[in-house]
């Protein structure tokens, strides 16, 4: 039982963590919590299944096309749901606009793709039981993504520009950084990360339009637990959430596991409103 909890808990947790990172990536350059994060991950599974199974493309080509499509959806989100409301961030209109885009993505997927779960191809055919690739692939994808992001943010000029925008938007613009282009790029990057989450978790979650709402929800928990904008917190929060959820599934049953998860979530937020890894930011006056 412990092996099963660890295998499926870490797999689900890695997917939640990646969705959490997707939220953070969009948030960092726009200060907008875009509720399209889960839908991007859902699309990763749907596009992956469509390109590789339905259209019969080679795995690599299907993977790259999936990421490209998710990046495009990310960019569309920035143009349609984020840019028009940036001037009035304090009114939180982005909640409505990003939710609207998320619902549109979900409905269009339901109409065009179908409302039943569709199969996702077996990618490498490695492992069985608790070592099946459907369990370890999301974990590996999560690890590679984090290493890649760390490299991007710490070692590249573009990454440092992202960080600059995230740290202080006005100062970055005063230094001549192309804030708008960087924001579009960050939404494309978020699309890619969401796509990776959906593609790597496709064997576990299947290509199913309803995964979007589920991942929106469970992907938000690690963000809140780990602290808004804190990728390391999102990773730890996501993995902890997955493990706790699976343990609850085994110990108290599926119908109560969501209750257990959200009870813990509320308790943590009451104890640490800024998240377990978040810090209240000082504002210079």
């Amino acid at each position: 039982m412990l092996a099963s909890i660890l295998a499926s808990g870490l797999a689900a947790g890695a997917i939640y963590a990646l969705v959490g990172v997707t939220y953070n990536t969009m948030f960092s350059t726009s200060r907008v919590m875009s509720f399209t994060a889960g839908q991007l991950a859902m699309l990763g599974g749907v596009f992956g299944s469509m390109f590789t199974l339905k259209l019969g493309m080679p795995l690599l080509a299907g993977f790259v096309l999936t990421l490209v499509c998710c990046a495009i959806i990310g960019i569309i989100t920035e143009f349609v749901a984020v840019r028009p409301v940036l001037k009035s961030l304090d009114q939180h209109l982005y909640v409505l606009s990003t939710l609207a885009v998320a619902l549109m993505i979900q409905q269009v997927t339901a109409i065009k793709w179908g409302t039943e779960p569709q199969p996702f191809p077996r990618l490498f055919g490695i492992g069985s039981g608790v070592w099946d690739e459907k369990f370890w692939l999301p974990v590996v994808a999560c690890a590679i993504t984090i290493v890649g992001l760390e490299y991007l943010y710490r070692r590249t000029l573009v990454g440092r520009a992202f960080v600059a925008i995230a740290e202080d938007n006005f100062a970055a613009r005063a230094l001549g950084l192309p804030e708008r282009n960087l924001r579009v790029a960050s939404y494309a990057l978020a699309g890619v990360i969401g796509g990776v989450a959906g593609f790597s978790g496709g064997e576990l979650l299947l290509a199913f339009f309803a995964n979007g709402a589920l991942l929106n929800f469970y992907g938000f928990v690690p963000v809140a637990l780990g602290g808004l904008g804190n990728n390391r917190g999102a990773i730890v929060g996501g993995l902890a959430l997955g493990l706790f959820q699976q343990a609850a599934n085994f110990l108290v049953g599926g119908i109560f596991s969501s209750v257990a998860v959200f009870a813990l979530f509320i308790v943590v937020l009451l104890a640490a409103p800024q998240g377990l890894f978040g810090a209240s930011t000082a504002r210079r006056v």
Binding site: P117, L206, G254
Partner: protein, 398 residues
């Protein structure tokens, strides 16, 4: 007695009025088509059954009209797309009754819509025949106009329980459903009925259908000693995951339950075709083939007629097509036997039916019983054996 000019005018007007009211009316009625309203979710997520039902509806209407209609009156199918949306179904129902002035209605084809439209049809006293499973849709006091020509939920439940207890001869049962309203209600009813019949329900659960790993519930059911797993869910993803987990666990327990377990989509979701074996889904005698691959003779004839008319059967279920044919034929027969399209006459005729021989099944209605489908015609099918919308009988039937 003197006859004045006024008397002549009044008499003439009265005669003309009487002539207008009495003589041409029957002539119009005899020529008027019999309008059958169809509330069909032709588009949207729940459109798959409608596509099958509509093939049967159109096939039956064409056949009746080609043979001269019903006592010379043609059948006119007035189709409305409800998109599976109760609100649209309500609007369409009102439009069919008040604008299109249909004589009877077939549908809606799913319970969610029917729950919304049945009271409206009852108020208008319009004869309605439908295949929806929710128990409360049939109530001869509240809805004396509503008739069900497919099994109700409790009939499915009875058939599943009968198969488990009397054919598989198991006593320890696990009952698993999803967390939808349907899943929770169906699991509760199933557990109560199993216990009433003396079975030992060793495990019951409602599982979120998006739960990625079904190992926890399968493990608990196994540890509890379940000899069969009864499934009440329409989620093919959840069902396929359970079949896959059973294989990983090397557990040869049988699954028995909801017809969705025989959905073609499961073929792509199971990791190996073998994982879909020993799964027995609800089916019907009329649409199940025996070990020799033969359907009942009446169904064989129907399949031959459908094939001759180029009706596609490979992408749908035969019972949907047969049910659509039966519905239209039941309406046509009621008009023929009652002699008019009068609502009361159609309802009165249906109330007299005893084992009326349809293609999908034999129907019996009475003034106190509007569940027309007979429980003994429900059987279990081998879920993975679909062939032109029919299935192989599950083991144990002769």
């Amino acid at each position: 007695m003197a006859i004045s000019r006024r008397d002549v005018l009044l008499g003439g007007a009265g005669a003309a009025g009487a002539a207008a009211f009495s003589f041409p009316a029957p002539a119009i009625a005899q020529a008027e088509p019999i309008k059958v309203g169809c509330l069909a979710a032709m588009t949207g997520p729940s459109s798959a059954p409608t596509i099958g039902f509509n093939r049967g509806v159109n096939f039956a209407a064409d056949a009746i009209n080609a043979a001269g209609g019903v006592k010379g009156r043609k059948l006119e199918i007035v189709m409305r797309d409800t998109q599976g949306d109760p609100t649209k179904a309500v609007n369409a129902t009102q439009e069919l009754i008040s604008q299109a002035k249909v004589h009877a209605i077939w549908g809606p084809l799913n319970s969610g819509e029917a729950l919304a439209t049945t009271p409206i049809m009852a108020r208008a006293k319009i004869p309605d025949i439908h295949p929806c499973v929710v128990e409360s849709l049939i109530d001869v006091t509240k809805y004396p106009n509503a008739f069900r020509m497919a099994p109700s939920n409790s009939q499915w439940d009875d058939a599943v329980r009968n198969y488990c207890l009397n054919i598989l001869k198991v006593k320890k049962v696990a009952v698993i459903g999803d967390t939808t309203g349907y899943g929770v209600t169906a699991v509760g009813a199933s557990v109560a009925a199993f216990k009433k019949d003396g079975a030992d329900v060793v495990y019951q659960a409602n599982v979120d259908s998006t739960q990625p790993d079904m190992t926890p519930d399968m493990l608990r059911a196994k540890n509890a000693g379940a000899e069969v797993i009864v499934v009440w869910s329409v989620s093919t993803g959840m069902e396929a995951r359970m079949f896959n987990v059973r294989a990983v666990m090397n557990w040869d327990v049988a699954f028995v339950g909801h017809p969705s377990m025989s959905s073609g989509e499961i073929a792509g979701l199971v990791e190996k075709p073998a994982n879909w074996k020993k799964v027995y889904a609800i089916g019907y005698k009329s649409c199940s083939y025996d070990a020799a691959g033969k359907l009942p003779s009446k169904s064989e004839d129907l399949v031959a007629r459908l094939a001759k008319a180029n009706i596609v059967m490979s992408d749908t279920l035969l019972w949907w097509i047969a049910g659509g044919i039966d519905a239209i034929e039941l309406i046509a027969k009621a008009v023929a036997e009652s002699g008019s399209t009068d609502s009361a006459g159609i309802i009165a005729y249906w109330n007299t039916l005893s084992k009326y021989p349809g293609y999908f099944g034999n129907y019996s209605f009475s003034p106190t019983q509007h569940n027309g489908y007979l429980t003994e015609e429900i059987v279990m099918s081998e879920a993975s054996t679909a062939k032109n919308g029919t299935f192989a009988l599950a083991p144990g039937y002769t």
